[in-house]
Symmetry: C2
Subunit: 219 residues, 2 copies
């Protein structure tokens, strides 16, 4: 495997991160630094994508252990593309990781990379869906249930996600939008291999999640 | 509206509750008592379904504020049916609630009942799905992504769920299995109306969830 680049995404100021949770303290280090360090376990170089207004802060904080920091765009997909533009042409593999998942273990990164070693063009590490999920449809002024989905076929997606660099670049051509990068590869007809995720790979979206993360790291 | 009965389900010892989390302490009261009290906000009578081995303990604990306690069955659906058998024939409405959701607010119960007042045969109060959900399919020895679902059409189901009593009884005829009661009504061709849920209506499945619940109740 050639050079592996990591893109840690924390770019969407005010939309996904109304409050800058990626800079909150988690057991003595900013959340974003945990995420960058996690990514570093398998990546030769890590690009951190931040809201434009936070670049100076990042410089004064030693780039949160990233190799370079770039400004993100209005959507998550835009921010990934900002990161991709900083990845050199000779990159073999790109791993995309959300800054809001500071607890991703090195083992998880190794697992998605392992799938690429085995020939997959893209790999994700989702977890089982534990709640019953229904599809709804409009009815009158409200909504009714259209269908209860077969839970055993569903997974809930996380990051890291690993891609052959050319596959990810092609998937982002034309600046499509999506909630995760694998969906863009799927839309482009690519195969996305599923490896086991980790339920403890928490996404921080509320203060309660941060409290739970503190418990998980034993802080 | 005629008599409203509540069924609080905590019946599946060893499967859903390997550890009896429904008896864990939450700010000075057992979890199950929180759930029964929540249900009581709109129900004339509350039936609590417990593992058979816990009935004596329940009696010594004042039935955890329920009106009667019955023994559950091997699956959640079996336990709901145990509760249903204790609901008298003249019941108008049955509200089913999971003991593992002690933080359900009175307002949430009122909302599902309100939909029945407005003519719905059944009502649920799910929350938006915040993660990207994919459908997977087997491929070789592993799995690949079959499809990324349209997140804006998906909801994650919670309890309480409210039903016209005859609708719920008919849905349970023949002892079908399902992860929630609304799915049985759907399978029987009934309409299930969707009202807004509450993301703080936490389901306790791990010790970390209990810690989060303690934070939410300010304990």
């Amino acid at each position: 495997m050639g050079p592996v680049f990591g893109i840690v995404v924390a770019g969407g100021a005010g939309t996904r991160f109304g409050q800058p949770k990626q800079f909150a303290d988690l057991a003595g280090r900013p959340v974003v630094e945990w995420s960058v360090r996690a990514c570093r376990s398998v990546c030769d170089t890590v690009v951190l994508v931040l809201p434009a207004g936070h670049l100076d802060l990042a410089r004064s904080a030693g780039l949160y252990c990233a190799d370079l920091v770039v400004a993100g765009g209005p959507t998550r997909a835009d921010s990934v593309r900002s990161g991709l533009r900083a990845v050199p042409a000779d990159a073999d593999v790109v791993v995309v990781h959300d800054a809001a998942r500071p607890l991703a273990r090195a083992e998880l990164f190794s697992r998605v990379l392992g799938a690429l070693d085995d020939g997959a063009p893209a790999a994700v590490c989702p977890v089982a869906v534990t709640d019953t999920v229904k599809r709804v449809r409009p009815s009158g002024a409200g909504q009714v249930v259209a269908e209860t989905l077969r839970r055993e076929e569903l997974v809930s997606v996380q990051t890291p996600q690993a891609f052959r660099a050319d596959v990810l670049r092609r998937a982002h051509e034309g600046a499509p939008d999506a909630t995760d990068d694998a969906a863009l590869v799927e839309a482009a007809g690519g195969t996305v291999v599923v490896v086991a995720g980790d339920p403890d790979n928490l996404k921080l979206t509320t203060p309660a999640d941060l409290a739970r993360a503190v418990l998980l790291v034993g802080g």
